[in-house]
């Protein structure tokens, strides 16, 4: 207990810990979006012609698409012409060969966040492909992974070095015209991670990327693609923080996962973008499209997310179970406080026989936070004996927050079995008093109760990540009760 007390004390009155700005000369394009900007991005990244064409096609799609308005969030209209679509540290030309070569200021930024790369490498055995703004500045363990034929690099590198794989899979899970934000991402994505696990290989370490938004007014459009060949396994970690800003920053990432026969992909996210201040000013707009396809028989895709940041979250990590006996999982903890709004959930699309999916969603709302769970379970006519278990629990702290649940079921096969459980509870004054009356301090009591509530999700996270997530929740929710 005392360890967490210290943590809380350390963070008391510090505001948003990750809120600082690193001063690095940016190579930024003027705000606005048109075909020339897309040509600029593509040229800047020295992309082949097919990639440029792919982007332009996406852009033309995007122009014809309406911005979605069905989600239960409220924000002023986004002026897409006021956003700058490219920004990269200047040192891009001569890419650092090792971590020692990266800009000391960038390194210092990560140090402030408590994620020194070298320590992570040594202690956690985690390979880090750190995205600083839009260009990867440090990639580690690449050689070690390469020995097993694993490719772990930035998307920009993958387009240069592995065009055949990118061409084969990019946009196959999330087409360029899938939705408004995915189309935008397809047109202007700047970087992201690319992972390829060859047949029969079990990736020997957790692969991890830390994302950061740094330049003012620069939207971040990450594009990540993970391919797991037959009988392979990979666990991927994604963690985010962003510096404090007054303007809203748009973030529209796309993540595509492909699992072939007997393959398994575990994708874990801790999202801690700047949530805005208590008046609802600032904060990241997080419009993310994440989808995995269990292409092969007996394959498995598992999404685990801990979402504590962003002013607005619009995110539904989904699994399409095409292969027979394939498995889709979604474990989520989402926290909304201040004036944060989140409309998040998942889609489980059952196509193959004997496909199974599990949804465990834990929503915590505090202060004036508003939260929606939105989940779709679709059982196709072909999906005999499909099964789904859904559990959606909401916890409210205080009386000005809200929790809403919109479950959609679309069942087209009579052999399907679906279970849905939902609860809403208020973090009880009586629960807190009970802890206090046993000598446990209030902030420890809150973290105890909240961690208990989230336990089923936390235990799906890799160990170090779970500890980090718990700490994050403690820090996030301190002062939210009482």
């Amino acid at each position: 207990m005392s360890a967490s007390t210290e943590t809380i004390e350390r963070f008391t009155n510090k505001g948003y810990e990750a809120g600082f700005v690193t001063d690095i000369e940016q190579d930024t394009v003027e705000p606005g979006l048109n075909e020339d900007v897309i040509r600029f991005i593509s040229a800047k990244k020295n992309e082949p012609e097919w990639m440029l064409e792919w982007r332009l096609e996406a852009y033309r799609n995007w122009l014809t698409m309406p911005e979605p308005d069905w989600q239960y969030v409220h924000y002023d209209p986004i002026d897409f012409q006021a956003i700058s679509y490219f920004s990269a540290p200047k040192s891009d030309a001569d890419r650092p060969e090792s971590l020692d070569d990266i800009d000391p200021e960038i390194k210092a930024t990560y140090d402030k966040l408590g994620i020194p790369l070298h320590e992570q490498e040594m202690l956690a055995g985690v390979a880090v492909d750190a995205v600083f703004d839009s260009v990867s500045v440090a990639t580690s363990y690449k050689d070690k992974l390469a020995e097993q034929g694993i490719i772990f690099c930035s998307m920009s590198e993958a387009i240069q070095d592995h065009p055949e794989l990118v061409k084969k899979y990019l946009g196959t899970v999330i087409p360029r015209n899938d939705n408004f934000f995915a189309a935008l991402n397809s047109a202007v994505f700047t970087d992201g991670s690319f992972v390829y696990i060859p047949k029969g290989v079990r990736c020997p370490m957790e692969l991890s990327t830390y994302f950061r938004i740094n330049a003012a007014n620069t939207g971040q459009f990450e594009r990540t693609l993970i391919i797991a060949e037959d009988s392979s396994y990979v666990s991927y970690l994604e963690g985010c923080t962003a510096p404090m800003r007054d303007e809203n920053q748009l973030h529209a990432a796309v993540v595509e996962l492909v699992a072939l026969d007997n393959a398994e992909i575990k994708y874990s996210t801790v999202q801690n973008w700047y949530p805005g201040n208590a008046e609802g000013k600032g904060g990241i707009y997080n419009f993310v499209t994440k989808r995995g396809v269990c292409e092969g028989d007996n394959s498995k895709i598992s999404w685990t997310q801990v979402e504590t940041g962003s002013a607005i979250t619009w995110k539904y990590p989904s699994v399409v179970m095409r292969g027979d006996n394939s498995v889709g999982e979604f474990y989520s903890v989402a926290v909304t406080r201040l004036r944060q709004q989140a409309d998040t959930g998942t889609k489980m699309i059952h196509l193959g026989k004997n496909t199974r999916s599990t949804i465990v969603s834990k929503g915590i709302s505090a202060q004036e936070g508003q939260q929606v769970y939105r989940g779709l379970v679709r059982i196709a006519p072909t999906a005999s004996n499909a099964r789904n278990y859904s559990q959606c629990d909401s916890m409210l702290m205080g009386s000005e927050c809200g929790a809403h649940t919109f479950p959609y079921l679309d069942v087209n096969n009579t052999t399907a079995q679906l279970e849905h459980e939902a609860t809403t509870s208020k973090i009880g004054e009586d629960q807190i008093l009970y802890c206090l009356s046993r000598g446990i301090a209030e902030e420890d009591a809150v973290s105890l109760i909240v961690n208990g509530f989230c336990k089923e999700v936390f235990r799906e996270l890799p160990m170090e990540f779970a500890v980090e997530a718990q700490k994050l929740l403690e820090i996030t929710l301190e002062d939210s009760v009482g």
Binding site: L433, C435, S437, R438, G439, I449, G452, E456
Partner: protein
């Protein structure tokens, strides 16, 4: 010096005055029982003593071990040795009973300048104390009170008390909802903890519990005041005559 000294305590709940000048002194090592009709203020006294914010102290003072109890935060009161066995213990999903207790034990130890308890030592302690109140060992790893039967919850309260070893144990209607066997076990657990420097305040409706936990002093609490104080025989008197005879005293 008295362990607990309550002088002229007035307590409001949602604007209504429930305790109207209560006086009570408990010496170390003594077991006091408080009896009285519903709405008389028994549970209010218990909640006010542990520092529930919903119970507003408007007047009076409470000294615990010579210190001003009302100045202390609820967790500080607990760390100083005040324990309340709740009438309706709450559930804390996902938090194991053992983990919870360890957090409590360490918070109390830290307060007194001691190191955290050794993991093995703690495990032995909880097992031994669980046996004492015949608490199923399976309940040690289950989330606090979640899915416990009414009797198990009450037993768990006594178990917590026996692990935390307070200076005063306040038991708020611990006997309600217990069958005769459970009542006996719970009482045995309390009796095993009786000592020269530990006191108890047993709040109950029924004389039945007091057959097993024999009090040194019995009080009758009505209309927000102690209207009568006597020895253990007072409980029998109440059982046969009811509270009606005390109405006039209270008025």
């Amino acid at each position: 010096m008295a362990l607990l000294e309550i002088r002229n305590l007035h307590v409001n709940v949602e604007g209504n005055e429930i305790l109207k000048g209560l006086d009570l002194t408990i010496e170390p090592g003594k077991v006091h029982a408080i009896m009285g009709p519903n709405g008389g203020g028994k549970s209010t006294l218990a909640k006010a003593l542990v520092g529930d914010e919903a119970y507003e102290i408007t007047e009076g003072e409470v000294l615990f071990n010579g210190q001003d109890l009302l100045e202390m935060d609820p967790e500080e009161r607990a760390r100083e040795g005040v324990f309340l066995g709740f009438q309706y213990p709450v559930e804390i999903p996902g938090v194991s009973n053992t983990y919870f207790l360890k957090a409590a034990v360490n918070a109390i130890r830290k307060h007194h300048g001691h190191d955290e308890i050794d993991a093995m030592e703690f495990l032995e302690l909880v097992r031994e104390r669980a046996r004492r109140v015949k608490l199923d060992e399976g309940l040690l790893q289950r989330p606090v009170n979640e899915g416990f039967s009414g009797g198990e919850k009450k037993r768990n309260e006594i178990f917590h008390m026996s692990v935390l070893e307070p200076k005063i144990g306040i038991l708020d209607e611990t006997d309600s909802g217990l069958d005769i066997d459970a009542l006996r076990t719970v009482s045995d657990g309390v009796n095993a903890m009786r000592s020269d420097d530990r006191s108890f305040l047993v709040i109950t409706h029924y004389q039945r519990l007091l057959q097993y936990i024999v009090p040194d002093v019995v009080h009758v609490l009505m209309n927000g005041r102690i209207v009568k104080t006597g020895g253990k025989e007072l409980a029998h008197e109440l059982e046969s005559q009811g509270y009606e005879g005390f109405e006039e005293n209270a008025a």
